[in-house]
Symmetry: C2
DNA sequence: CCAATGTAGTAAAACGTTTTACCATTTTAA
DNA sequence: TTAAAATGGTAAAACGTTTTACTACATTGG
């Protein structure tokens, strides 16, 4: 039945060699520790033969390293995060790390609990899409010498490693695209939050319409209201009361989805007469009728860059300080039918 | 700086009590082991005061339990799986378990590697959406006494715990829905696999058209071709060569997405003249024009049921055999515009 | 010839728990 | 009165590694 996995001790017994020697050899320190070629070979061969695998848990207990990373996102069920998760997973596994995913619901309390939880469990590193109020907690985490990389957002005044996109630029470019296509009354629908990425996007929008001499119209919904009637009503109001609005720019993916529902709900034809542009692309925007124009974040690059930084941090030797690593990527505008005038 | 977390030993020193006693008390065995009320209180209070948290890794090493579950899916970036992941995550965390997600790409080799990997890491349980050829591997896993629950699919001839939907019935009901709406030449587009869920769906389709005296038309694509030109061409052929096809039923979500692209590509109007029904619902099907009818799997229930069974298995005492637990859930047909005739 | 250095390893502590087996006392029962 | 049982604990082994500090012997240099 369930036979025990071989341990170093078993090898030691079988080969009549000390545990220490085996550990050195298996960790590639054989040469360095002046173990003879024959002994090294003998150990390696036998380990191979019995398919020896070190017990990670014992290793972790001894070394304090778990070879586990954690990726904290708002909601792993959201395709935007799920896609990045997939990329991160892939890279991590290649390097012998596992990834724990968890959803914060953009909730500070929950985020804090999760951070504490994983810190206690001694995960080796945190890749975090932070909820708005956990700046201090992240700072503390970093102080306690745990590798942390932020994604998608950053905190003002805290010098932390991060990978973000040029939100201001992307938002401005997107708004400009709508302006160029002849829209005159562009509304910006966003989330009621003080998070930098959203502020930057709002700023990009505002500057673009200002420069074009157009008026701005910003609607901010609270994160919790989006899926509720309250949020839907606000959007509905914006689109029906102020009849002059001819285009909408959504600041993030989960807004778009509900908004499209509402637009369809108000009037199935409305969508053809309204300019629509959204942050974050989605496989379905391409096949929607009309196809939805999007400002697409470079998911692959973001994932790669997050991991590149993470591995730099993980390799860091105790003493040497690593420099701050902050990457700003460019988003790409993917114009489709929804941002054409009169389609 | 980085101060050490308190261990049992620290408590022992501070309170002048043995490590053993503390362990008993903190594991709630104080009463049972006849530790006096005062000592229990003293220990509990002090542990609380210094915010003692047991080192999970040490616990794992000693007990062989890691409090980690693994959820193996085809692709965590696919919303269908990501959504279930979210539900599982939630339930697991409530019970003090963490979840590792991983993507198998429906590839047997990769699945095997992952199973070995996690088995070695002594995760406490596996929730698996299995790739087609890993029946033996799963059997072995179960033999070695690890809790395993399959989701979405099962293996013929292997009595394992699983949670699936009534694929045959759902498929038949879906096909019947198309027939009822007046479609005469319904094609079924599926994946070229011997996996039970797909066979069942194909069978449901075939029986429904047979009983209605209609002819069947099945197109099977290989998993790898879907996104490639080859797959696209096959679909295109089916829809253009045989002009008599008036409706299509897709057997799984990732087909639908590409297919919709192709349909749009062939002729933007085509989608209005073609009956469309798909397995697996998606937030965007609702807002698509026309909205896409779907056979929706009950994700929430599936997640809950998977976890219910998993916890039963985890609680199982060494000796007692647990009975086979197999749950079959009903899918719900969500008729929308795409399955109406002449819309 | 003797001290220093090199070679080829090994013993044992440590990581932080859980758990088995034990030990004094005290109480109970016959 | 005395053996058995209950009370209130504790010592120490064990989980499987890594790593520090050692050892015994051989070689070298002066």
């Amino acid at each position: 039945m369930k036979q025990k996995r071989p341990s170093i001790k078993d090898i030691a017994k079988a080969l009549n060699v000390s545990i220490t020697t085996i550990s050195f050899v298996l960790n590639g320190k054989g040469e360095e520790r002046k173990i003879s070629k024959e002994v090294i070979k003998k150990i390696e061969d036998y380990a191979e033969e019995i398919n020896y695998r070190p017990n990670q848990i014992a290793q972790s207990l001894r070394t304090g390293k778990s070879k586990i990373l954690v990726f904290m996102v708002e909601d792993i069920g959201n395709p935007f995060f799920a896609k990045i998760a997939r990329i991160i997973e892939e890279i991590a596994y290649q390097k012998g790390y596992k990834v724990l995913f968890c959803s914060t619901e953009n909730n500070d309390k929950r985020s804090r609990e999760l951070i504490t939880l994983f810190h206690e469990r001694q995960v080796d590193g945190f890749i975090v899409i932070p909820s708005p109020g956990i700046q201090k907690d992240i700072e503390n985490l970093i102080k306690s010498d745990v590798p942390v990389v932020l994604g998608d957002r950053y905190f003002k005044g805290s010098p932390m490693n991060h990978v973000v996109i040029d939100n201001y630029g992307a938002s401005k470019k997107g708004t400009q695209h709508l302006i160029d296509n002849g829209f005159k009354n562009i509304a910006f629908i966003s989330i009621d939050t003080k998070q930098m990425q959203m502020l930057d996007r709002a700023r990009g929008y505002r500057d673009a319409v200002d420069e074009a001499g157009l008026s701005n119209q910003v609607l901010e919904l609270s994160f919790d209201d989006i899926r509720k009637q309250k949020g839907k009503d606000s959007v509905k109001n914006l689109l029906t009361q102020k009849e002059n609005i001819d285009a909408v720019f959504f600041s993030t993916n989960y807004l778009t989805q509900t908004a499209l529902e509402i637009i369809k709900d108000i009037d199935p034809k409305l969508i053809y007469n309204l300019g629509i542009l959204t942050f974050d692309d989605n496989d379905f925007f391409k096949i929607n009728t009309p196809s939805i124009s999007a400002v697409a974040q470079p998911l692959q690059e973001m994932g790669e860059e997050l991991m590149r930084i993470m591995f730099k941090l993980l390799k860091k030797t105790k003493d040497k300080e690593t420099p701050l690593m902050q990457t700003v990527l460019e988003a790409t505008l993917t114009p489709r039918d929804s941002s054409k005038r009169n389609t």
